[in-house]
Subunit: 356 residues, 2 copies
């Protein structure tokens, strides 16, 4: 049975990325060696990381003066790297749920944290807007897409201070104005690569402004100077990332990715709003294109397990909601074909016919 992968992350990758990776695991570029066993100092890998870096610049129109890093770990490590490297006295954070909390927790060990705005009052079902950014903070940090609550910012704020953003789950799904940021980071395991890799886009002249000692591996400047090779980087995830970046370029770039994201979201939210058994959980204007949250209406909630089973029988994988929020979550990352979204929509229609 064909599987439709709606996991929130690690998550769907383009089939040609998967096939190219499998081929490289057996034999990289006809070298007779596996991508699992080549030195990161080999010519073959140097070409991989150079091209991946260069495609980041090209696809996101990254201006001069920024460096793209590929590091082991995940976004959770960046939650502490960011204040280690950028927080002098005070930082501003938007509180939009789970991931923001984790970032805020780490920052508090380094200085004052101004919670500039929060949507906690309505269980993070909307996004704060029209907040006043404190001009005396070192940066404003926010999570562009909130995988757990299903909300997403689609703009790069005008701000009197530099922006820092966790774009783990929506990088490459829309154009970004990188010049407004001193740091954009994320785990790669949504729109880019398998897990075990972080990307960081860092503004060079924003570094080395803090006085504290930074452990070597947490110091962005070290990784900038060593071009992500201070220590052995995650070779296979970077290889897969390159395959995804080539795929994005071939599809037409981030503008095309954005249109597809809009179309997928439109199809699924349309069905959620139409279907008499389901409802959305998020303010309409803040609905994430990447992670679509929905629940059964109160009168049908006893059928939750049954719907999961019904979907599973149709090859639909990974739509069980996050343990904090319950209900359902369908993640629609770049690699998700419209045909899979249609399968989920048809499944919801069929379930309605049988049960409402």
């Amino acid at each position: 049975m064909v599987k439709h992968n709606f996991y929130a992350g690690p998550s769907i990758l383009p089939r040609e990325v998967i096939e190219a990776t499998a081929e490289a695991v057996l034999n990289l570029n006809g070298s007779g060696l596996s991508v699992l066993e080549i030195s990161h100092r080999s010519k073959d890998f140097q070409a991989v990381i150079d091209e991946a870096r260069s495609l980041f610049h090209e696809l996101l129109s990254i201006p001069q003066g920024y460096t793209v890093l590929f590091l082991g770990g995940g976004a959770s490590m960046e939650f502490c790297r960011v204040p280690f490297n950028f927080l002098k006295k005070k930082a501003a954070y938007l509180d939009t749920g789970v991931w923001a909390h984790k970032a805020i927790k780490e920052a508090k060990a380094f200085g004052e944290v101004d919670i500039t705005a929060s949507s906690e009052d309505k269980k993070y079902s909307y996004l704060p807007k029209n907040f006043k950014i404190p001009a005396d903070a070192d940066y404003l940090h926010f999570t562009t897409n909130n995988t757990v609550y299903g909300t997403e910012y689609f703009e790069d704020f005008d701000s009197p201070i530099p922006l820092v953003a966790d774009m783990s789950s929506d990088i490459f799904s829309r154009p970004i104005d990188v010049s407004k940021y001193i740091c954009i980071y994320g785990g790669a395991q949504k729109n880019l690569a398998p897990s075990g890799l972080s990307f960081v886009i860092v503004k060079d002249d924003a570094l080395e402004k803090v006085d504290r000692y930074i452990p070597t591996m947490l110091n962005y400047k070290v990784h900038v100077d060593k071009e992500s090779m201070f220590n052995t980087p995650p070779v296979l995830p970077i290889y897969s990332a390159l395959m995804t970046l080539r795929w994005i370029k071939k599809q037409g770039g981030v503008k095309v990715m954005e249109q597809r994201a809009i179309d997928r979201a439109h199809l699924l939210y349309g069905e959620i709003d139409r279907n008499s058994m389901f409802e959305g959980t998020v303010a309409h204007e803040d609905r994430s294109r990447m992670n679509v949250r929905f629940v059964l209406k109160p009168e049908y909630q006893s059928l939750e397990g049954e719907f999961l089973k019904f979907a599973d029988e149709r090859g639909i994988v990974g739509i069980k909601g996050h343990r904090i929020t319950g209900g359902f979550r369908a993640s629609l990352y770049n690699a998700m074909p419209m045909s899979s979204v249609q399968v989920l929509v048809d499944c919801m229609k069929e379930f309605e016919k049988l049960n409402s």
Copy 2:
């Protein structure tokens, strides 16, 4: 042409590990999904990490009271995690070269560092022995195998204080008395898995003894409590690690790995000592079984490039020495077959016949 992979790391893995990984990239356990795109919360992956943890315990006879962690990153991150978690006032470090230096540098930010012994006087060509371990230090840290200089400790010291060891490059190549250690760590990219993964074996009751704030991702206790799932772990490297652990078990365990390591080293060092053109660089009793360093004798040193080319033509990859030390280095990790060592030995003999 068949390749013989002597890279120092990332490095050779058993062919069946490579093939099983390629298969899982296309379709994991017949699930219809790739190991690159499954959630770390899926049943399939939970089974993988549970079995990998359990095989660590079994193959290394890890006593009760220890936890095995699989973390993103690499040993370089552990250089700062170790003092963050264990250094109260003073720590003792053995200085045996490049990796020890890096570990020492991080520790110095956290307290007093006693350089208990060093072999810097002879360019790290031997290993300090019969040193006096300070009884008032929190732990003694050492690098069991030194990939750059080609030296290796084959024993777990008797010590008045707990041991901490970087075993990146010789884990699973001999039995270890884990009970002497509070922490054994390493990057996985030598004897275990592709790069992007660290393993840490930590003694549970040695944790939470320091007063400082530890950033969440650097706190071993967090990862112990969350069973390596505080954040998304590197799924594919852990899958490959499991394949390697199964392979080690099938071969007969670490005792068999040790005998093979001894046999491979004996064959290659034997040729180095016999051959009129080459010589070793390390005190005989400290010669590493994992990384064999050798050079051309002074009168032949102009032929270095020629020997590399000669070897390359015979499918021998990765024997160029580290940029610090020059010369040659052949890494003989667990997956290295005797037949490949024989190819290198024959190549050295042939080169001697043509050039001496």
